[in-house]
Amino acid sequence: MANALVLEDLTKTYANGFVALKGISLEVKEGDFFALLGPNGAGKSTTLGIVSSLVNKTSGQVKIFGFDLETQTADAKKMLGVVPQEFNFNAFEKVIDIVVTQAGYYGIPKQKATERAEFYLRKLGLWEKKNQSARMLSGGMKRRLMIARALVHEPKLLILDEPTAGVDIELRRSMWEFLREINAQGTSIILTTHYLEEAESLCRNIAIIDKGKIIENTSMRSLLLKLNTETFILDLKDELPDLVAINGYGLRQIDARSIEIDVDKNTGLNRVFQQLADQGVQVMSMRNKSNRLEELFVSLVEKNLEMKELA
């Protein structure tokens, strides 16, 4: 399978001397749904900025579907659609004009551009707003407008930088469905997000970047397998007079009717319920305390910080 994106030894030093990227190499396969994660200031935006031609690289190479961004610029750019983190359209333009104009920048004639704009605006629930000034749209609509604009030239690789930031849960779920749909139709997607639940739910492969270096690059499944312990919250039917004990498990009381419990991946949950039942404790419901990927992410970034301090 071809590579949608290849980064080779990419470096970036800003004019003020700040080294944002220290030699990043990365491959994203065609058709992949790829997460690029990292804490604030790690180098995610710089990396995506270089790929999107918004930031000048210091050295290294970027290839989009085999086209070198430096020497085959037009061919490489045609393959790429970008949904940035911040709203960057002319807020005084009409919704339809923003999308049709973007198509025009890719050389798509007006009539075809208008047809495509209608298709994507309908798909993203914005067709009714086509003649409204973009500044009148809600935050969620503005995000969807940027997605429609990025898709109007039908790119093979779509980069989404925090696409659901500030979007309500219902809309976020519908955007996930839409992204899954276009990924299933063959569009490769690179996603950055601070909602790690989002990355875990959508992405098949993942890279974690910290302090300008890739510190993890693997499949989501392999990464999640590294997590040895999960924490669950149990809601109880009755109040606990005293904290019960369960052999082999860490247990903490949150309030009178709920406890949290650390469960080793190799141990399973049967013994927990068995022991609680033996002590007369009735469990009404159970949920994950936190997102699994979030725990891994924090541990990897902290580990990287410790190694830096040791060095």
Binding site: S52, V82, N88, Y105
Partner: protein, 257 residues
């Protein structure tokens, strides 16, 4: 095929620019119409009637080409500087940077958009001038080519200003402190033959003098300077400014970090 794609991209920028200045016509097309009407009334009618002839023409007739050119200059410059700076400020410059558009097409699109506003205002002011004086075209080709080339020069100037600008103050400094004085001293209201020798020589360094006089020659057939030399100067300005603007775009000055 590639040429057709590039033309579509170019035309998209041009139509976007025309859409912008026509959408806000109260800010872009109406003010020069009002200002120039006042110039015609005050300088042409009230004061001009006491000045008498200049260069063999009634004062109103003499200043009309200069006032038309003045509006073309300020509006071509103003359109590109405010539009391109606004594009940077709102970050929708990114729409252009991610797209497969060569830098020269971006520059050509903005310059054509600026020239379109300059020429639109030029037509409006010309029509208004007909209420105050009669205009006949002495050399059609010289009139048209001067006004188009001048609009291009100042659109390029506005583009360069916008690239360097970081704040809204930065886009008003050049028009206020450089462009307006040069326009007033560029022979719009008088013939430089009225000036003492030193000031006549100094005026030769003002690029606007060449544009105003070429245009006046096209309409009235009189000029303070050699028309061939004036065209060489105007074309020279276009080449230098376009090369500098391309250098700024290619290095990403003010638009890429």
């Amino acid at each position: 095929m590639r040429g057709q794609l590039l033309f579509t991209a170019f035309w998209t920028i041009v139509t976007k620019e025309i859409r912008r200045f026509t959408r806000i016509w109260v800010q872009t097309l109406l003010p020069p119409a009002i200002t120039m009407t006042l110039y015609f009334i005050i300088f042409g009618n009230l004061i001009g009637s006491r000045i008498g002839d200049m260069g063999g023409f009634a004062y109103m007739e003499y200043i009309a080409p200069g006032l038309i050119m003045m509006s073309v200059i300020t509006n071509s410059y103003g359109n590109v500087v405010s539009s391109f700076f606004g594009t940077k400020f709102q970050r929708n410059i990114e729409e252009l940077l991610v797209a497969p558009i060569p830098n020269w097409v971006i520059l050509a699109g903005y310059v054509a958009g600026g020239a379109a506003r300059g020429l639109a205002v030029g037509v409006i002011v010309t029509l208004l001038s007909l209420f105050f004086t009669s205009l006949s075209i002495h050399h059609f080709f010289i009139t048209l080519s001067t006004v188009i080339l001048t609009a291009i020069v100042f659109s390029l100037g506005g583009f360069i200003n916008a690239v360097y600008a970081n704040t809204f103050d930065d886009i008003s400094i050049v028009p206020t402190f450089i462009l307006t004085p040069l326009t007033y001293l560029g022979g719009v209201f008088y013939s430089i033959s009225l000036l003492p020798g030193f000031w006549q020589t100094l005026s030769q360094f003002n690029p606007i003098l060449y544009m105003v006089n070429s245009f006046r020659y096209g309409l009235l057939g009189v000029s303070d300077i050699n028309i061939g030399f004036a065209f060489m100067m105007i074309i020279g300005f276009i080449i230098v400014l376009a090369a500098f603007a391309m250098h700024l775009l290619n290095t990403g000055k003010g638009i890429r970090s």
